[in-house]
Amino acid sequence: MSSTTLPLKQRAPVRPARILLHVFLAGTALAWLAPLLWAVFSALRPYSETSAKGYVSWPSKLTFENFTNAFQQSDMLHYFGNTLIIAVPAVLLTLFLSSCVAFYVARFDFRVNLALLLVFTAGNLLPQQVIITPLYRLYLLTDLPGITASGKLYDSALGLVLIHVAFQSGFCAFVLSNYMRSLPHELTEAALVDGASVWRLYWQITLPLCKPAMAALATLLSIWIYNDFFWALVLISTGENMPITSALNNLSGQYFTDPNLVAAGSLLTAIPTLVVYFALQRQFVSGLTLGANKG
């Protein structure tokens, strides 16, 4: 926090303005959190009480019962598991593949570089719905007997992993290639002269230097993939196979029968992202702006 080093040259006369600013910011911040706090408040109250006294009323009892009920009744753990099976391979594969492309583009071929990056980045900016109709058909037509439980790419974790990787690698390749190009060329050149293989150049020399960018991207990707709603909604047909964010939609009619349970259930799905965000806030924000501020 910057609070410890209040700038010396900043003028003294505007104190009242500062206080006003703080009042404004604190008020706005509270207003910003209000919908979430309202959800927490509703989730903490027993349904019987809110239905008798109304939702805007002084609580006589606050419990975590709704949370435990929402978690157990809907077998939420199972859906968190589904997300894990999709998100972990997807994040790792995206980072691996996009760093491969980035390495090639940054170190070996400057001409293909721009064209390739253009294709990757433009692809990543497209709305998902542009490609969904043919993609859906492609997934239905791809037979993978024995490889996925459904026997097709459709309705399988593999299918979701692939589309996440294909879609997200655009952004990552772009960021990583810019990052790699700014690394000193002498490093790889010297190693190459010493007879190191291309693979070693990539794996042992370039990648370790890209750790900050990779960490930022990994944080960002985890949250994006966790939060994805659309791909699974269309490409998964069995409710049981859905990752948590998309499953929420089904669960809310089936198990979350009253608003208090809906509140508890949806807040539970937000917990993992919040944990990641608070733990890795710096990486997340730097990942997001990783690029947004070329001066």
Partner: protein, 327 residues
């Protein structure tokens, strides 16, 4: 989301060492090439090829297939049942689909609202938080929180606010009794605006972060010079700071357009895109998961979306990459 959030343009948060001149770089690349063994070349081909094939096959081939299928009808089973129908799908879409023009209109409204309200507000917050102020991080966290949570979850949270019977708003203003009911979710005159408040709530925090990053890169000496010249805070911002934020403004504009075109999750969770909140993305999706899936027709809607997106994406990327090459 996926969504969503896509900010491009090079530069790293963690400052890497300065760049070398392109000429030297190209020379280095050539000397790199000469030292390659056969195995190295195969490794390189795989490293560049596998990701490219995956990306092109799943993203670009399908995008192009969308264009092709938009001019056909197909039952989705055998490839021999694909029939060319010319512009029929588009004619039907433009003339006979009662949801199409409202959807286009709502996508436009979505963009206009996002760019006029939360975007300037995000900039305003960023400017305030950029003054070395106490608790800046705490405020930032609060404003940014909605951006981290999934759109689906946001949809549910706002349903709790808008629910006509049990929601926060109606409970407070007493509109949850029969007779003077306000149906924020179902009423087609209200629901788009209700959902746009939720979307703006999220967008402002996102824009704030982008602008904060932009402001950090503003040369402090500019500000000092303006202060020495006697400019007040507003004058400094208007004539000195804002013009230097141009690159950020471009990113913000592109991100906002893309967000407006991608808008989906929130509306889908909110009311499934029922009357009043139709969007192009919703029409495409309903065409797939609905009972009467028409591949050609759905693709035609997707093509409309594709054309609008590419009209924004391509000029932006070309400008970005041109700058890049000069750098």
């Amino acid at each position: 989301m996926t969504t969503d959030m896509t900010t491009k343009t090079p530069e790293a948060a963690t400052e890497p060492p300065p760049r070398r001149t392109p000429k030297k770089k190209r020379a280095a690349q050539q000397s790199h090439r000469r030292l390659l063994t056969r195995r190295d070349r195969i490794t390189l081909a795989l490293m560049a090829g596998v990701p490219t094939i995956l990306h092109v096959a799943l993203v670009w081939v399908t995008a192009i297939a969308s264009i092709f299928l938009a001019f056909t009808t197909w039952d989705g089973i055998g490839f021999d049942s694909i029939k060319w129908v010319g512009l029929d799908n588009f004619k039907q879409l433009f003339n006979d689909n009662p949801q199409f023009w409202p959807a286009v209109q709502h996508n436009v409204i979505w963009f206009v609202v996002l760019i006029l309200i939360p975007t300037p507000f995000g900039l305003f917050l960023a400017v305030q938080l950029d003054k070395r102020i106490r608790f800046s991080r705490v405020y930032q966290t609060a404003f940014f929180l909605p951006v981290v949570i999934s759109m689906a979850c946001i949809g549910f949270v706002w349903q709790l606010v808008y629910n006509p019977d049990t929601g926060l708003i109606n409970s407070i203003i007493g509109a949850n009794k029969p007779g003077h009911y306000i149906d924020w979710i179902g009423d087609p005159h209200l629901n788009l605006w209700a959902v746009l408040i939720a979307a703006s709530w999220r967008h402002a925090g996102y824009m704030m972060i982008l602008y904060l990053a932009g402001l950090k890169s503003v040369d402090p000496s500019l500000r000092e010079a303006a202060a020495l010249d006697g400019a007040n805070e507003w004058q400094t911002f208007k004539s000195v700071i804002f013009p230097t934020l141009r690159p950020t403004n471009t990113v913000v504009l592109v991100v906002t357009i893309i967000e407006a075109l991608r808008a989906f999750d929130l509306v889908f969770v909110f009311n499934k895109g029922a009357q009043g909140t139709e969007l192009l993305s919703i029409l495409v999706t309903n065409n797939i998961i609905g009972e009467s899936s028409r591949i050609g027709y759905g693709s035609a809607i997707a093509v409309v979306l594709l054309v609008i997106s590419l009209a924004v994406i391509i000029p932006y990327l070309i400008a970005t990459f041109r700058k890049e090459r000069r750098a």
